[in-house]
Symmetry: C2
């Protein structure tokens, strides 16, 4: 097979055959197709699209480039959730032990944050002793012990996706729905979960800014999962404002623990319970309702066992940033708008996020929100607290927040927390 | 500046600024923009196009990546011709000395053949002793001695184009009019000619298969040349059938010498004279008519001086292929059709062309045509003679010719030799 033929076919608007897709993914993983050839193909895919069949073949070829995990030895169904990423999105933390407490196994492979969105592994690593890297045997051990495990994907899982993602990142070819969908789903299908609930975020703080684009991505992923034998549903959820009141690694762990203790911000609780119900229902597990499991301590119990099984101390004090700064309401009124992207960017600049994959994150850095859109505020009242390891970071964070919130006579219209269900 | 911003702008259908184009060409030449980034940008340009201003900026940036030659010390105008390449297109060989004999200097940088089209340097190298590589001083010496020089472009001329062309060749991004036009024109403008006549070939044996695409390429190049202060015109000419009766390196040199001696096939003579008149008229040189200079021996004189000044012996016997094979007319009638691509491919397989840049060519290999479209033929009469160094090459050449010619009651419609003039 000839790589130029494959590129030219897609470039000229044609459909790639299954054989062409299998060959090009295999040859790229093996180094027989060069980066400059794959990036030209990725650009042609971004601009000319792929059919449902092509996306499915592309996803399967990436899965076949590595190992595929198998949890059929377990005595209960497996269920997992994937979020496309947002600001203050710590839902995975309470959700995984909650679903485990209600009777399904949750084997979750997570990622790290990049840009203005946080990563689940970065958040959990703020817990002293907690380890993200587990062998397959260790993963199984944690699952059996706690019912849930959250860890880093090993290098053996969809290596073609790993290589292609790094390439897309530097060649302006990230924003392609076929390539995004196949990247996410190749890892989730290879992970071996029986049920998958996708949380596709919409709004300024999300990757998908419009409901239409989010719906297209969600439908594509639901089709891919379904075609591969994974029971898959998707929720489109709001990311025009931050989720909850904490943005930043240790700050979000604290909020997750509040939720597991039966408290926490209402939007975080609502979305956690909704996603848990979707996961359990889709997995065919009935019995305890997730709302009850947050109240009766069983979800917290599962959380503590999970953290401990991965070397963490669930009772340890979490890192705190050395410096804080309060942002006060400039006038009295209603907090009309609080933009997710502005808050995410500010938290990133405070040290909560990273610019390059190699960068460290500050566990204590981030933002605590004292008011959410719709809340009444009085002039001079604290709107938010910024946390950073050095005071020098506050200026650029404040610049990011400029224009990111507004006080007015009434709340501006915002997206419903759950916009739509697909699947 | 950020390369991803540049790629994304073009990807999303935007127009690149002069600063962005200057930066990206400079950074690519310097190795600060990687091949995989440039190929993604090339694919975005191919699919989304460039405006006239962008193409001009792109061309200028490539010119600035290297040296720009200057012939202002000469006492007469300079004129050059560029052909987009065809089968049996040996026009440069008689044309350059002919124009010199009529009063303009012709400083021509030429290339080698690739694929089914031949290269001027390969043809001239079949003359024993002739050297393609000259220093700038040597070039000037040959020009002063013979009025014309044909040699290889040095590595200092438009190095950005050299690097980008090699990249496009392996990434399926060759067929973009903005990229083709800027590649050709950056070299021709850097070469320093005052006048340029473009011979844009159209038909099966050409790069541009349709008159519309050829016209678009020609107009783009004429605009680029004009904008850069080079008096530029273009002719669209026929390449649906081979030009002349000889296809192959030494065979074409022999035919060129026939033309310089006042003979030769009528289509080669007609096109040579027409292009010479265009070059002289555009350069503002009047006096001797090119048709006369072919008859009175002055063009031949210039040719002999040019060949000798580059180390060649104009009287030497040219290499001959060891083996020949005659293809006979299968029936009597009119040679209705003789496809340029089929003949070019057959000559290539006989050894006249190369597949990779590093391959050698056979100087003697090629095809002599004994009939041209419209000629009456009798069954059993020789249609063409194949020349190769080994008999083993004949079978694949015959396969290339299959369906490439047709004998019928009358000639099929063919393109006029000169289709259109632009500029």
């Amino acid at each position: 097979m000839d790589v130029i033929e494959v590129i030219v076919r897609k470039r000229d608007g044609g459909e790639l055959s299954t054989e062409q897709i299998d060959w090009v993914i295999d040859a790229y993983t093996g180094g027989r197709v060069a980066d400059e050839q794959m990036s030209a193909l990725a650009m042609a895919i971004l601009l000319n699209g792929m059919t449902r069949r092509e996306i499915a073949d592309w996803t399967q070829a990436m899965i076949r480039s590595g190992e595929r995990m198998d949890w059929s030895m377990l005595d209960r169904p497996t269920a997992d959730k994937h979020s496309t990423g947002g600001v203050g999105d710590k839902i995975t933390l309470p959700l995984a032990p909650l679903v485990a407490a209600c009777g399904a196994y949750v084997p979750q492979l997570s990622g790290r944050g990049l840009g203005h969105t946080g990563g689940t592994l970065d958040k959990l690593e703020s817990i002293p002793g907690w380890r993200a890297s587990l062998s397959n045997e260790e993963m199984l051990g944690v699952l059996r012990e706690a019912g849930a495990v959250i860890c880093a994907a090993g290098s053996g899982l969809a290596p073609a996706d790993r290589k292609l993602y790094a390439l897309r990142d530097v060649t302006g070819t990230v924003e392609s729905i076929p390539l995004i969908a196949s990247s996410i789903m190749s890892k989730k299908i290879a992970e071996g979960t029986g049920t998958l609930v996708l949380d596709v975020k919409v709004g300024s703080g999300a990757f998908m800014k419009s409901v239409d684009r989010a719906r297209e991505l969600a439908s594509t992923m639901v089709e891919l999962g379904t075609d591969a034998g994974v029971r898959t549903v998707a929720l489109l959820t709001a990311m025009d404002r931050p989720l909850g009141r904490a943005v930043g690694n240790a700050l979000e762990v604290e909020e997750a623990v509040e939720v597991l203790a039966g408290g926490g911000p209402s939007d975080v609780v609502e979305l956690t319970v909704r996603l848990a119900r979707e996961m359990l229902e889709t997995a065919g597990v009935s019995g305890k309702d997730p709302a009850d499991a947050l109240k009766d301590g069983s979800a917290m119990d599962s959380w503590r066992r999970m953290i401990r099984a991965q070397g963490g101390d669930p009772d340890a004090l979490l890192p705190r940033a050395a410096e804080t700064m309060t942002v006060e309401a400039p006038e009295s009124g209603v907090l009309a708008r609080l933009d997710a992207y502005a808050v995410g960017l500010a938290a990133w600049r405070l040290g909560a996020g990273r610019t390059r994959k190699e960068d460290p994150v500050s566990f204590g850095a981030g933002i605590t929100l004292h008011a959410k859109p719709g809340d009444l505020v009085r002039a001079g009242q604290p709107l938010m607290t910024l946390h950073a390891d050095e005071t020098s970071r506050f200026e650029r964070a404040l610049a990011a927040l400029e224009g990111g919130y507004e006080i007015g006579p009434a709340a501006a219209e915002q997206l419903p927390l759950v916009i739509e269900r697909i699947g």
